[in-house]
């Protein structure tokens, strides 16, 4: 019951996050959406951890938080550099990777 609600919340957050990543043009907003995705996964892990009575999920959640922090650090640094070079952080204007 409680688990289901947690999982539902996680699913909702995940979907919001995906929407943000796909639809947003601002790079900072994309990064924030990625954060949402990660945290929805955390929520899932914790929910199952509580249900199974083991601490493995908690451990993984802690790892994910740490990695997310690092990822945001790198991501923001990249955004900052892009802004300095281009005076914009709109993602649809960055199409140098076109093959």
């Amino acid at each position: 019951m409680l688990t289901t609600q947690f999982l539902l919340l996680g699913a909702v957050l995940f979907c919001i996050g995906i929407y943000g990543v796909l639809a947003r043009k601002n790079a900072v907003m994309v990064l924030m959406s990625i954060e949402l995705i990660l945290n929805s996964v955390n929520l899932n892990l914790l929910a199952f951890s509580v249900r199974n009575g083991s601490v493995d999920g908690n451990t993984f959640a802690l790892y994910i938080i740490a990695i997310a922090a690092a990822e945001v650090g790198v991501g923001l640094a990249m955004v900052l550099l892009i802004y300095r070079n281009r005076r914009t952080i709109a993602l649809d204007e960055l199409s140098e990777m076109k093959g």
Partner: protein, 792 residues
């Protein structure tokens, strides 16, 4: 059937020092490591480790010797009654203290390491530790300020450790180990001042000449191991490397005579190299290029006596292999006899004081070999003992002269003379040692040398007794010449206070052509004040070792003073191994609480002793029965008269020649053809160096290199060229067929495939991040769907 049954058991005492004698070489070896790693940081630059370790070894060695004496005394007092009953023809058997641990194994053969302590080992241990200690103390002053002071002490300490380890070796493997350590260290020490080319050449020469002999050591050890191993394993349960096992095997009568002979000859070749016997003695005088303390150590107690020690250690092998018991000329006697005379003659034409001593050492080693070869075992070992003291003293005195008297020169004719007044202590110790070396009663050399000569004659080698006597005459004469030139007459060169100019000093004394007359380059600047003050007595660190050694040169002979009756023959009692038959079980037992089985008398049985009759089943022998000459004053008087003649005639000649410049004598070698020829031969050292360096090296090395060149050009290059041609043909075929068609086809095909698929996938790479994200999530969603479907 046992020839004798156990009638009494003798409890042979042992003790801590005897059981732990293996520590004696370990201490300096550890000190060597300490000097190498920490020496430079110590207040005395590492020399304190060396000196302390040598004194510690000396204490242990003396303690062990003391307990050995008690062991022998205990055994002989209990066995005394048995002796009176006539069961013995010699002293009762007192077993050596053997402890052995497995060092490493290879192919089922165990190589042990440990100790074999008996009278012989202890004699050498005490002498080596004692001389090493004094030499190290002496070096503190002599090498002060040297640029490689720390390394010198490291090598010196390891050198002593090598000798000590060799002396107490229970098997041939450890003996070779110690032997080679000494070879290495002698190289390092002789070439201590390697900046001068002559010094490094001398070091190389010493190393290579000794190595020529060392081949014999390996070959001999191999021969003995393969022929003795099965016998020793079966009878004594030890390997064929074991020294007491080899001794028992040689005496057992089961040994093959040809294996014994060739093994002994090969081992003796090693002794010729190491102990500077003719014809491999040439490295020894050149070894004078090293610092004087090294010469002293090398020539008195370590290194050169290693060869003599090896013969003494494996004496049963040499006894049986060379047929020493017969009175025919054998290899050892011959080499020893030749060495005595040729080296003594060479000593007459040397200008360098250390070279006189070097040839004197060679000659004295000849005496030791002569004694061993003629069956005078105890006399030869005793001569090692006494010779160590007076020869070390002579070398150190020569060093003292150069250090303080002649401004680092060793040239007697140019820079010495008249130093007796200025250096009274050095001169007194030198003269005492000279008289001891010449064999003047009652100094040390008299007892040992006379005993050798006496026993050589007694054992039937009459011709060699005459060789020994003439050697005694020559020894007295050349030592008198050196003494006169150094300490008496008028002062010359540096001894007169003349000051060498700094840079010219090296070149001035180069009249020997090949080798440095100079000793002290590293410390040249540090000792500049000596030159200004002129000759003076050396400091205490030098004179005290000299005085101790000179005192021993006086009294050491009393340790085996045959003229004073059998109570004085302590060496014979404590050092000479017993030639008794021993039961195997009692012989192999060792350690504390060991008992010696004293065989009871049986009428007439086995009175002959070992080496005359082979031992019975279950019995072994460890030493041949050697006979001892009875001392007679009439015989000794002859040699004393000869020595006195040598001393007096040489003295008179020196006064006439060097001081009064007698017209009849001066320039005689230029006027008289015969004498000129003789002088030239001696001056060129019998042309042996020329023989080795030009004839042999050219004859052997040049054809080899030419043959190698021919082989290289024709055979090897031919092979290489053929291989090259074949390879080129094969490569051409491979290129046309495999490379062009198969490999290139595959490469081109994969390229085309990649281009095609790239064109298909190209539109996906839009460059839009959001689109990438959509693809990523779509793929994840499809993956999740598949997962769900599979799992349900």
């Amino acid at each position: 059937m046992f020839a004798a049954e156990a009638a009494a058991e003798v409890h042979a005492s042992t003790g801590w020092f005897l059981e732990h004698a293996w520590l004696i070489p370990i201490i300096p070896a550890v000190a060597f490591a300490l000097i190498i790693f920490f020496g430079k940081r110590m207040p005395m630059k590492g020399s304190e480790f060396g000196v302390a370790s040598m004194f510690a070894s000396l204490v242990l060695a003396v303690g062990a010797a003391w307990q050995w004496i008690q062991r022998v005394d205990g055994a002989s007092s209990v066995a005394h009654s048995a002796v009176e009953e006539g069961a013995y023809h010699s002293a009762p058997f007192v077993g050596p203290i053997i402890r052995e641990w497995t060092w490493w194994q290879s192919g089922g053969v165990e190589f042990g390491i440990g100790q074999h302590i008996d009278g012989l080992a202890l004699t050498l241990l005490v002498v080596v530790a004692f001389i090493s200690s004094l030499v190290q103390v002496y070096s503190l002053e002599y090498l002060r300020g040297d640029r490689r002071y720390t390394h010198f002490f490291a090598a010196l300490t390891l050198f002593s450790a090598g000798m000590l380890g060799m002396v107490l070796a229970p098997n041939m493997v450890q003996l070779i180990l110690g032997w080679e350590i000494m070879g290495l260290c002698s190289f390092l020490l002789i070439g201590h001042w390697w900046e001068e080319e002559a010094n490094s050449r001398a070091a190389l020469k010493a190393f290579f000449t000794v190595r020529v002999g060392d081949v014999g050591l390996l070959v001999g050890t191999g021969i003995l191991f393969f022929s003795a191993n099965s016998w020793t394993q079966e009878n004594l349960g030890v390997s064929g490397f074991n020294i007491s096992g080899l001794s028992a095997w040689a005496m057992s009568g089961a040994a093959s005579q040809s294996a014994l002979t060739w093994g002994a000859v090969a081992l003796f070749v090693a002794c010729i190299g190491k102990s500077g016997q003719f014809p491999l003695h040439t490295w020894l005088p050149d070894a004078m290029a090293g610092p004087t303390p090294v010469s002293s150590l090398l020539h008195s107690s370590t290194m050169v006596v290693a060869g003599v020690f090896l013969v003494g250690r494996l004496y049963p092998v040499f006894w049986e292999g060379m047929k020493i018991g017969d009175t025919n000329i054998n290899f050892i006697v011959l080499i020893g006899g030749i060495t005595i005379v040729i080296a003594a003659l060479l000593a007459f034409v040397q200008h360098d004081i250390k070279k006189v001593l070097a040839y004197s050492t060679v000659s004295q080693l000849g005496y030791m070999m002569l004694g061993l070869g003629a069956g005078a075992w105890i006399a030869a070992i005793f001569h090692i003992f006494t010779h160590a003291f007076f020869k070390a003293c002579l070398f150190l005195a020569a060093g003292s002269v150069s250090h303080s008297g002649s401004h680092h020169s060793f040239d007697m004719k140019k820079d010495m003379g008249g130093l007796a007044k200025k250096m009274p202590i050095t001169a007194t110790t030198w003269i005492i040692s000279t008289l001891a070396l010449a064999g003047v009663f009652p100094l040390a050399g008299f007892f040992s040398k006379d005993e050798i000569i006496d026993n050589v004659g007694h054992n039937g080698y009459n011709a060699f007794m005459i060789v020994g006597l003439s050697g005694a005459f020559l020894t007295a004469a050349y030592m008198t010449r050196a003494t006169y030139l150094t300490f008496f007459g008028e002062s010359r060169g540096a001894a007169a206070g003349e000051h060498h100019d700094q840079d010219g000093a090296h070149a001035v004394h180069d009249d020997h052509g090949a080798h440095a007359v100079h000793d002290d380059h590293g410390a040249h600047a540090a000792h500049d004040d000596h030159g200004a003050k002129g000759p003076h007595e050396s400091p205490k660190l030098i004179t005290v070792p000299l005085m101790i050694l000179a005192a021993l040169a006086v009294v050491a002979g009393l340790a085996n003073a045959t003229p004073f009756g059998s109570n004085w023959e302590r060496f014979k009692k404590y050092v000479e191994p017993s030639s008794e038959y021993v039961m195997v079980e009692s012989a192999s037992a060792s350690g504390p609480g060991e008992s010696i089985v004293v065989p009871a008398a049986e009428e007439g049985a086995k009175k002959e002793g070992c080496a005359t009759v082979a031992p019975d089943e279950g019995m072994v022998c460890y030493f041949p029965t050697v006979s001892h000459a009875k001392f007679k004053w009439s015989k000794a008087a002859l040699s004393l008269v000869i020595v006195a003649l040598g001393l007096v005639s040489s003295w008179l000649f020196c006064i006439q020649y060097y001081t009064r410049r007698d017209r009849r004598l001066v320039g005689l070698t230029e006027r008289n053809t015969v004498l000129r020829g003789g002088y030239k031969v001696l001056w060129n050292k019998y042309y042996l160096d020329a023989l080795y360096e030009t004839v042999i090296v050219r004859a052997v090395a040049y054809p080899i290199s030419r043959a190698a060149y021919w082989l290289n050009q024709n055979v090897l290059d031919g092979i290489v060229n053929t291989v090259g041609k074949v390879a080129r043909r094969v490569a051409g075929w491979v290129y046309r067929n495999i490379d062009q068609r198969v490999v290139d086809g595959a490469v081109n095909g994969s390229g085309a495939a990649a281009r095609g698929s790239g064109g298909v996938l190209r539109p996906v790479q839009s460059g839009k991040v959001n689109q990438y994200g959509a693809l990523l999530f779509a793929a994840a969603a499809i993956g999740a769907l598949i997962l769900v479907i599979i799992n349900t």
